[in-house]
């Protein structure tokens, strides 16, 4: 089976064009801040306000999003999934997308918003991402082995950035 072309910019563009309120977190956030790590999925925390969930549902439909790991059954996320604090692990036509209700110690979009920065990407695409200090904090809070593995790189990236 052919694997879809991974295109994070295309996923982000779809979310922005559907006016979804979201924050980029996780590995892609780390890379955008300059950390040399590899990841395969795009993680976002979305606002769970009802109107935003509607916009997110529309964006996910456009992206042909369905749950990963469901065998031959293409299950699609619904309003109850996206209104919950849970993590929805999806596959889209442009690659894997994880839609997260909360991260770290149960912090959602509204709690994280004050610790974000805005970034202009290619073609005037404006996105919001967790600032690097906050990303480090969420990794420390999660304290899973996979989070600990990248903490040293994130801390050193923060250190090198302050020299630039």
């Amino acid at each position: 089976m052919k694997t879809s072309k991974t295109d994070y910019l295309a996923i982000l563009r779809a979310l922005v064009e559907h006016h979804v309120d979201f924050i980029i977190v996780g590995g892609v956030c780390a890379v955008l801040h300059g950390a040399p790590i590899a990841t395969f999925d795009l993680d976002v925390v979305h606002s769970r306000a009802p109107a935003n969930v509607d916009r997110l549902l529309a964006a996910l439909a456009w992206l042909d999003a369905h749950f990963r790991g469901q065998g031959g059954r293409p299950l699609t996320p619904d309003r109850s999934h996206l209104s919950s604090p849970g993590h929805q692990l999806l596959m889209t036509r442009f690659g894997p997308l994880d839609v997260l209700g909360v991260i770290g110690r149960g912090r959602g979009y509204d709690e994280l918003l004050a610790q974000t920065v805005s970034l202009d990407l290619q073609g005037g695409l404006k996105v919001r991402l967790l600032d690097l200090q906050a990303l480090i904090q969420t990794k420390e809070e999660a304290a899973r082995d996979k989070d600990k593995a990248v903490l040293a790189i994130l801390r050193r990236t923060l250190g090198e950035r302050t020299k630039v």
């Binding site: 089976m1 052919k2 694997t3 879809s4 072309k5 991974t6 295109d7 994070y8 910019l9 590995g27 892609v28 890379v31 955008l32 300059g34 950390a35 040399p36 590899a38 990841t39 395969f40 690659g95 970034l119 990407l121 290619q122 040293a152 790189i153 050193r156 990236t157 090198e160 950035r161 630039v164």
Partner: protein, 65 residues
């Protein structure tokens, strides 16, 4: 141990004394961080996408170009 320095030579060492370290004490490659920081955010994303595609190809998956 044999010295590779010419007799009477005062040639500088291969790595300048004031060069920045290549690795942190905990083993992180600082040269990669500096390289990534020299790129724009969009370029960093493109590096990541190419990295992901390369790894998938190495794993033998049929990846779209």
């Amino acid at each position: 141990m044999a010295s590779h320095e010419s007799p009477g030579s005062s040639a500088p060492p291969a790595t300048p004394i004031d060069a920045e370290p290549t690795h942190s004490e905990d083993g992180v490659d600082l040269t990669l961080i500096r390289w990534m920081l020299s790129l724009t955010p969009t370029e960093r994303l493109e590096v990541l996408q190419e990295c992901a595609r390369s790894i998938l190809r190495l794993r033998g998956e049929d990846v779209e170009d």
